[in-house]
């Protein structure tokens, strides 16, 4: 167990990357969102109008901006940290478990940050001028429970998926991630071929919790894959 905790600390050792970079990115997205809102304002759109609110809440910028960084973070948590963890004396098992724990901590941290900012945004009536950055549809449109669930599972999915791609690279070199990507595309294409005739019915019956289940499946598959790939991996 101690090596698992040491592995978590090894990841958290990159304090700026784990704790500050998500804040930097969030801040940048906020600035860009405000600038875009100003453009719309100057072009005649009125803050507080139904059209303004609908347009602003449809902005998924925060998700796109964080997603690429979080996948990179997941990749680097394995690609460059795994060889060093072995050098320090971690087992592959404790590294895999510790990395998953760290990913959960990071996910909870990002969820907490966005929840606080969302609450602040609503409490200040959207920063006193009607600007929407965090109170957006993709983050639950003000439903804090939904926001926390979406962000926690989304971040954890990004980190673990990044981790399994990096594990494939550690195990098989450049071919590893290519094989995983090809496999995922084939599975998705096969699912699409099977489900397309029933697409209308599926869309009508769609429930949000389906996405949560899909995220949990992706997290479980990625974590298991990471363990299976790292166990026989040779670091050279």
């Amino acid at each position: 167990m101690s090596a698992v905790i040491s592995t978590v600390k090894l990841h958290l050792n990159r304090r700026e990357t784990t704790f500050l970079v998500p804040l930097y990115i969030t801040g940048m997205v906020a600035v860009f969102s405000v600038l875009i809102s100003l453009v719309f304002w100057r072009s005649g759109s009125q803050p507080g109008s139904a059209e303004w609110i609908q347009g602003s809440q449809s902005n998924p910028g925060i998700v796109y901006a964080l997603l690429s960084f979080l996948v990179y973070l997941g990749v680097s948590s394995v690609a460059t940290t795994f060889p060093f963890a072995l050098t320090l004396g971690a087992t592959r098992r404790s590294f895999t478990v510790g990395t998953l724990l760290w990913a959960a901590i990071t996910s909870a941290y990002v969820a907490a940050i966005l929840a606080v900012l969302s609450v602040a945004e609503r409490a200040t009536d959207h920063w006193f001028v009607g600007f929407y950055v965090f109170d957006v549809h993709v983050l639950g449109a003000g439903d804090i429970g939904r926001l926390v669930t979406i962000v926690f599972l989304g971040v954890l999915t990004a980190l673990t998926v990044g981790g399994v791609f990096a594990s494939a690279w550690v195990r098989f070199g450049a071919r590893g991630p290519q094989l995983i990507a090809a496999g995922v595309v084939i599975v998705l294409a096969a699912a699409l071929i099977v489900l397309v005739p029933a697409a209308a019915g599926i869309a009508e019956a769609f429930q949000l919790w389906w996405l949560a289940v899909a995220a949990l499946v992706a997290i479980a598959l990625s974590s298991t894959g990471t363990w299976l790939l790292l166990r026989p991996a040779v670091v050279r």
Binding site: S2, A3, S6, K9, L10, N13, R14, E16, T17, S76, T80, T81, P83, F84, L86, T87, L88, G89, A90, T91, R92, R93, S94, V234, V235, R236
Partner: protein, 305 residues
Amino acid sequence: MTNAIDMQAVNRRFGDAIALDAVDVTVPEGSICGLLGRNGAGKATMMSIIAGQDRPSSGRVEVLGQEPFENESVLAMLSFVRDNQRYPDDYRLHHVLRIAPDFAPHWSDEVAAELVDGFRVPARTPIKKFSRGQLSSVAIVLGLASRAPVTLLDEPYLGLDVTARALFHDMLLRDYAAHPRTIVLSTHLVQESEALFDRVVILDGGKVRVSSEADDVRDLAFTLSGAADVVQGLIARSTVLSTHTVAGLMSATVWGAVDDEARTRARDLGARIAPASLHELVAAIGEHDPAPADPAHDEQKGVRA
């Protein structure tokens, strides 16, 4: 004496390539073992297996009495930093010094501080921008400050200036005397390091050519030099590891101990005989291409050529 490291019939293959071939090596607790041989001889693979970072294709490996692979209690007692060690993105020196004690129960902040100061390791530069010598310095800090009961040092001298190498020797011997442990050190700077060793393992082509007490190495081979025709006559029935000829003069490194008869013959013919130094032995074994029927393949007092 208990063995800290015990490898029996260890093979390691990567596809068709044989990295280690029937390796039998024991390293007693509390000794400093030099692991020598040419590039590609199998030194890093052997260390990697000892450190539990790789598994043999067949054979048995025990470190401190247990198999090291995925063994948390053994890995906590081990230190192995590769010569091409990778560090997490954005790591600086303070990241390494902050996390290493969490994994190394015997970690010494004092040793780390003295080495960092002596090597002048940059504090603010990202490790990925370090020079070769600076990377070696960080590896030495990790290796020595961990005070791991089994410490594996992989080419620790790479890129180090003469002052840094002297500091490394001094610190290694001083801390080893105060806190005895088992050290395996691979290096190509044989002459500079041989005084450290009390045991020597020489690998070539994945095979163990020599596994011996350091004091016995001088009896393993000798050099014969003189007129080329004289030397050729004297070595005709010997196992010759290497020869060098310059302007009618020849020098040969010959496997085995020299007896009185051979010494007398050589002296009568004007040839000079001297024990092969460790450096000469390693170089000669690296040149030697053993034939299947080479008598030097036979085990002699735990020593194989």
